[in-house]
């Protein structure tokens, strides 16, 4: 019980922080934080927000969903996508924002000179797939009559290859959990089918990066866990500069 309360408190603090700063509107403070502390803080924030697979006592995604009794699950009561638009459009724009972030990340990594050969090829391949997701989601939002979310300005700590791979793994595992967290909220079967076909590719990326790092490809065990949008947005905030 004390453990759970702590988790809930942590989650509430994160949510509070998210509210105060607002997604994508904390450029100055974030940039200062980044330059002050470099990559380790950003990665640390990520891990703190997501729960590391070596730390079974830290999982805000789970505590978030269990925090309200009577809730039917993490994704059901997750309306943090509303800031991106109503219903499916909001969900697609949320996904689009994450895909923009992933695309920019792989682009930066490919240009960083930290990787060569097969690893660089994998990074380019994953990056081009994320770019395809961006294009597909942009088209889908327009088709649904919505306005695609703008491309965020991003900044990533790229200090050394190992740290970058860890960050990539964290981003992809989070991305897969983010899609899973939205699946049951999607109204249109067509949008759901598209989201699912992206979701499993994010899962593949995550598993491949985990494998490269010598970690298990299935950190959640037989059942992948979803992540609610509030938690995901909070976790990626360190990388959004404007």
């Amino acid at each position: 019980m004390p453990v759970r309360q702590e988790q809930r408190q942590e989650q509430e603090e994160q949510e509070e922080q998210g509210k105060q700063q607002g997604f994508g509107r904390s450029g100055v403070s974030r940039r200062q934080l980044m330059s002050m502390a470099g990559g380790s803080v950003a990665l640390g924030a990520f891990l703190a927000a997501c729960g590391d697979d070596s730390d079974s006592d830290s999982n805000p995604a789970m505590s978030g969903s269990s925090g309200q009794s009577g809730s039917t699950g993490s994704s059901m009561s997750d309306d943090s996508t509303a800031q991106f638009g109503e219903g499916d459009i909001g969900i697609m724009n949320y996904a689009l924002t994450l895909e923009y972030l992933e695309t920019a990340f792989y682009d930066d990594v490919a240009k960083s000179g930290l990787f060569k050969g097969a690893d660089l090829e994998t990074i380019r391949k994953f990056g081009s797939q994320e770019a395809e997701h961006v294009a597909a989601l942009t088209a889908a939002v327009k088709k649904a009559g919505g306005k695609p979310a703008p491309k965020p300005k991003t900044e990533f700590p790229l200090n050394n290859a190992q740290q970058v791979l860890r960050l990539a793994s964290t981003v992809e595992n989070l991305g897969a959990a983010a899609y899973l967290g939205q699946a049951a909220r999607i109204q249109s079967p067509e949008v759901l089918a598209a989201a699912l076909s992206i979701h499993s590719v994010e899962g593949r990326h995550a598993a491949a990066l985990n494998t490269l790092l010598g970690k298990t490809p299935v950190p959640d065990g037989p059942f992948a866990q979803p992540a609610p949008a509030a938690m995901v947005l909070n976790a990626v905030q360190p990388f959004i500069v404007s």
Partner: protein, 214 residues
Amino acid sequence: MTEIKTDTEMVHPELAAIEVDGTERSDILMKGALAAGAIFGLGAVSPFVKGAMGAGGSKGDVEILNYALTLEYLESAFYAEALKKAGLSGELKELVKTISTDEDAHVKALTQTIRDLGGKPVKAPKVEFPYSDTAGFTALAETIENVGVSAYNGAAPMISSKEVLEAAGSIVQVEARHAAAIALQNGNQPAPDAFDKTMTQAQVLKAVQPFLVS
């Protein structure tokens, strides 16, 4: 993100609600913990228990779940056999052990969910797999996992219960992870396409037909 140790309290109320109405909750806590935890960890059952709780699972959902169960039975048998016969060692053997455990957990969870929805789980199909060495096994494993991903992705939009859908999503991501890990073992692209293809039930059954013995 191992939730198994920490989310028992989240799972328990749901188990209590399903298994027995009006029984002491503490009894259920123990019962649920022992029964489910002994098999594959408490965290694992939560999406399925939620699905059953929603009681929104239609006849169609039971059919889809039975279709998924057939595939999971096939995968489960495939890996169980491989651990004995495929001459596995080292890293690959560890990976196959993990995958085998996952598929077994999927079989158990799907079986339970079908029962919870008032359906009758299909029986395990008789299967046989045409490979004669480790490379043959890993090549076949990649095919089977990719079919699994396409099968779930194809069927999921037809699921009516949100809870069952979320559970299916939770499984398909794991199948995709298996596919990627096996592909790396084969020296193949872990994510060959930007969008995973979907397959209809007819296409999937045709693809797995060679492994079904009648």
